[in-house]
Structure formats: structure tokens, C-alpha cells
């Protein structure tokens, strides 16, 4: 039979009772989480920016959206079970946020487009044709469905093969190729007015 000994609580127990140990552990976990997030930041931050820029076609807005996406990702990083899926997760967050921003600022963009149309163009005809082409292309991109658009944007990004895009979006390679083909074909159909004006570069 064991004897019972009366002992004084140690400082660790006192700290546990007072909640200091919990707070220390929580702070350490938060710091570790932050370090892990920052390790991924250098690689994934530009990805979020580029996705946002592909949707918004504006660097300032794209940076706002990218920062918002990174902030959201950081806040929910603890809840992400499979950390290897971080890139795909961030891409989807940035893409959704960029789409929301594009919808909300649609009227403002229309105003700016009208102002840009009225602005006198002193540059060459090629530049005017190019800006008009970009405008039409942006409009055609906005009319694409999100799933086609996301594949198209990711495939246009340097350093992303179709295999990587498929892995990132949890799709098969055939689905990615099919969506990419559909997206390009629809864009070409919507931009047929530029067929005579475009020249191979």
C-alpha cells in the first residue's frame, strides 16, 4: 500500500493553476504557426498576387486582394489539416476574393474604361489597337465561367505546367486540358472582330 505524502505545489503546478503554462504554450504554438506560414509566404505570396492580377488586371487592386487573401489564409492556417494543399487553398481564396472585388467595382471600372476611351491617344495605331484588344480580352475573360478562367490563368503563369495545375486544382490532366481548350476557344470566338487586326508576334 502506498503512503500518501503531503507536498507543496511546485512553481510549474502553480503556473498551470494560474494559467501561465497554457498561455506560454499557446504563445509558442502561435509563434511556430507563424514561422511555418512565413516559410510559405515567399513562395505563395506572388502566386496570390498573380491570380488576383489575372482577374483584376490592375496591380494596385491585385496587391490589396493578395494581402487580404494572405491575411485570411494566415488566420485560418491552423485549421488547414493538409498543409501540402496550402498553395491550392491560397489560390482559391485569392481567386474568390478577386472575383468579389471585380464584381463590386464593376461600375467603377466601367467609368474608368469610358474615361480611357475619351482620352486622346497620341501614340501609334498599334498601341490603340492593342489597348482596345486588351479591353475586349478583359471583357471576354469576365464572361468566362470561374472554373475555365482559373485554369486559363494558372496555365498562363510561368513555371506552371499543366500537370502542376491539375495537381493544384485536384483535377485530372485531361480535365485541365479540356478546360483550357474550352477557355481558349471561347475567347477566340468572342474576339473574332480582331482576327484581321492581329498579327503573329
Amino acid at each position: 500500500m502506498q503512503e500518501l505524502a503531503l507536498t507543496q505545489p511546485t512553481s510549474a503546478v502553480k503556473a498551470a493553476w494560474s494559467g501561465d503554462a497554457d498561455s506560454d504554450g499557446k504563445a509558442a504554438a502561435t509563434a511556430a504557426l507563424r514561422r511555418e506560414f512565413e516559410e510559405r509566404l515567399a513562395e505563395c505570396g506572388p502566386l496570390a498576387f498573380r491570380i488576383a492580377r489575372g482577374v483584376l488586371r490592375n496591380s494596385a487592386d491585385a496587391e490589396d486582394v493578395a494581402q487580404e487573401a494572405l491575411l485570411r489564409a494566415y488566420r485560418r492556417f491552423e485549421r488547414l489539416r493538409d498543409r501540402t494543399r496550402f498553395r491550392a487553398w491560397l489560390v482559391r481564396i485569392a481567386f474568390r476574393l478577386a472575383l468579389d472585388r471585380a464584381r463590386s467595382s464593376n461600375r467603377r471600372e466601367l467609368r474608368e474604361t469610358q474615361w480611357a476611351r475619351q482620352r486622346p491617344q497620341d501614340s501609334t495605331e498599334d498601341l490603340a489597337a492593342s489597348s482596345e484588344f486588351e479591353e475586349h480580352l478583359a471583357r471576354a475573360l469576365n464572361e468566362l465561367s470561374p472554373k475555365l478562367r482559373l485554369v486559363l490563368l494558372l496555365a498562363a503563369m510561368e513555371g506552371h505546367t499543366l500537370d502542376e495545375v491539375a495537381e493544384m486544382l485536384h483535377l485530372t490532366l485531361g480535365t485541365v486540358k479540356s478546360r483550357l481548350f474550352d477557355a481558349r476557344k471561347k475567347l477566340a470566338e468572342k474576339l473574332q472582330c480582331h482576327v484581321k487586326n492581329t498579327k503573329p508576334r
Binding site: 499557446k26 502561435t30 507563424r34 512565413e38 509566404l41 515567399a42 505570396g45 506572388p46 498576387f49 498573380r50 492580377r53 489575372g54 488586371r57 496591380s59 496587391e63 493578395a66 494581402q67 494572405l70 491575411l71 494566415y74 488566420r75 484588344f133 486588351e134 480580352l137 486559363l152 490563368l153 498562363a156 503563369m157 510561368e158 481548350f181 481558349r184 476557344k185 475567347l187 477566340a188 470566338e189 474576339l191 473574332q192 480582331h194 482576327v195 484581321k196 492581329t198 498579327k199 503573329p200 508576334r201
Partner: protein, 240 residues
């Protein structure tokens, strides 16, 4: 013209790319090799798609703003995650409290609406019964005037607080308790009987400690007088 059937497939052939193997695109390409017009159209479609790809690539590979990550880290330092978590809990609590308040308000509103409809139903019932018994209902529904209250107070010397509470009860526009119509009729009859014998009701309503103790007259009990007792032997009957 034989080229017409290839016109629609030209975009597909251009979009699918030269590397991809497709029967349709192969047929279009084979036709374009022998048809200068379709070859020119195919080249234009390819140049259009090349322009699209070039534009997309330029957009997607634009240089990253130099200090974007530094700005984000500074923003991250300003917003502590624990604080944001606390705020999220705070927002959730406020939302929950608001929802609870809205539910309570809706329930109370619904209950008030229901009681109003019940009162209206009872009022209609009472009105229909008062048509048959006008003298009873008018006696009950009329509130007591201050003169009547004062008169009752003087006559029966009821306590002021008791009369005040009775008068406020009588003068209230809304009934205190909702009762079924049959019970209401029984109550009406009881109150009408009480009105007929008001003194009896007042005596019942008077608290016991304030009731006047009955005064008894001294009883005069006369002494008990007994008549003289004469004891006589039983007359013996004639012996046999």
C-alpha cells in the same frame, strides 16, 4: 464551296494546338495545306490565339510589387491573431444575442397577438350573453364610481387599501384572468348574487382581525330549583 464545312472547325484546330492529335484538327490541317484560303484563316486564328496567350502571359507574369511581402508582414504584425480570434468570438456573441432578442421579441409579439384575439373572442361572447342577461352584465361591467366607493367605505368601514385595490381592479379595461365562457357566466351569476346581497359579500371580504367582535349580553341564568322529592314506598300489591 467545299471550304465552308472547315470554317467552324478552324477555331478548334487553332485552339487545340499543333501538337495535340485530333482527328478533326488533323483533317482541317490537311485541308488547309491544300487550300490557301483556309490556310490563311487558320493562320489568323492561330495569331489571334497567340495574341490572347501573349496578353495573358504578360498579365499573369507581371512583376511583383517590391515591398508587397514586407507590407503584408507589417500588416500581420498589426493584427494579432489572438485579437482577431477574440473579436470573432465577440462578433459571434453579439450576433447570437441579437438573434435571441429577435426570437424573444417575435414570440412575445405572437403571444400578444394571440391574447388580443382571445380577448376579442371573449368580448364577443360576453356581448352575446349580455343580450340575454342585460341587468347582470351592466351591473358587472360598469366600473364603480368614486361616490359609490366612498359610500361603501362609509357604510362598511372597509380599509382604504382594500377598496383602492378593488376599485382599480374594477376600473381596469383589460381582464386580469382569461376564463372560458361557461366559467365567465358562472362568475357573472356569482357576482350578481353578491350584488344582491352586498352586506354578505362585504362581510366575507373583510379581514378576520378587523371584523367586529360580536357582543354578547350577559345571560341571566336562574338557579335551578328542584321540587321536593317525596319518596314513597311502592305500594305492594295484594299478596296472593
Amino acid at each position: 464551296m467545299s471550304c465552308e464545312k472547315y470554317k467552324a472547325a478552324l477555331i478548334e484546330a487553332a485552339a487545340i494546338g499543333e501538337d495535340a492529335a485530333s482527328d478533326a484538327s488533323a483533317a482541317v490541317r490537311a485541308h488547309a495545306e491544300s487550300c490557301p484560303s483556309c490556310a490563311a484563316d487558320l493562320a489568323q486564328q492561330r495569331s489571334l490565339l497567340a495574341a490572347i496567350d501573349t496578353n495573358l502571359a504578360r498579365t499573369m507574369n507581371a512583376p511583383i510589387p517590391a515591398a508587397m511581402l514586407q507590407r503584408f508582414e507589417a500588416r500581420l504584425a498589426l493584427k494579432e491573431p489572438s485579437r482577431s480570434l477574440n473579436l470573432s468570438w465577440l462578433y459571434a456573441g453579439v450576433a447570437l444575442a441579437t438573434a435571441a432578442a429577435m426570437i424573444l421579441f417575435a414570440l412575445s409579439h405572437q403571444r400578444a397577438h394571440k391574447s388580443n384575439s382571445q380577448i376579442a373572442t371573449l368580448a364577443q361572447t360576453a356581448k352575446s350573453t349580455s343580450d340575454h342577461r342585460p341587468e347582470i352584465m351592466t351591473a358587472i361591467l360598469q366600473p364603480a364610481s368614486p361616490e359609490e366607493i366612498r359610500r361603501d367605505r362609509e357604510q362598511h368601514r372597509l380599509p382604504t387599501a382594500h377598496i383602492a385595490s378593488a376599485s382599480t381592479t374594477l376600473m381596469r379595461s383589460e381582464p386580469e384572468v382569461l376564463v372560458p365562457p361557461d366559467e365567465q357566466m358562472a362568475l357573472d351569476r356569482f357576482v350578481a348574487g353578491g350584488n344582491a346581497r352586498r352586506e354578505f359579500v362585504v362581510a366575507l371580504a373583510t379581514p378576520v382581525h378587523q371584523a367586529v367582535a360580536p357582543s354578547f349580553k350577559d345571560l341571566e341564568i336562574p338557579d335551578i330549583t328542584t321540587a321536593e322529592i317525596v319518596i314513597q314506598p311502592i305500594a305492594t300489591e295484594t299478596r296472593r
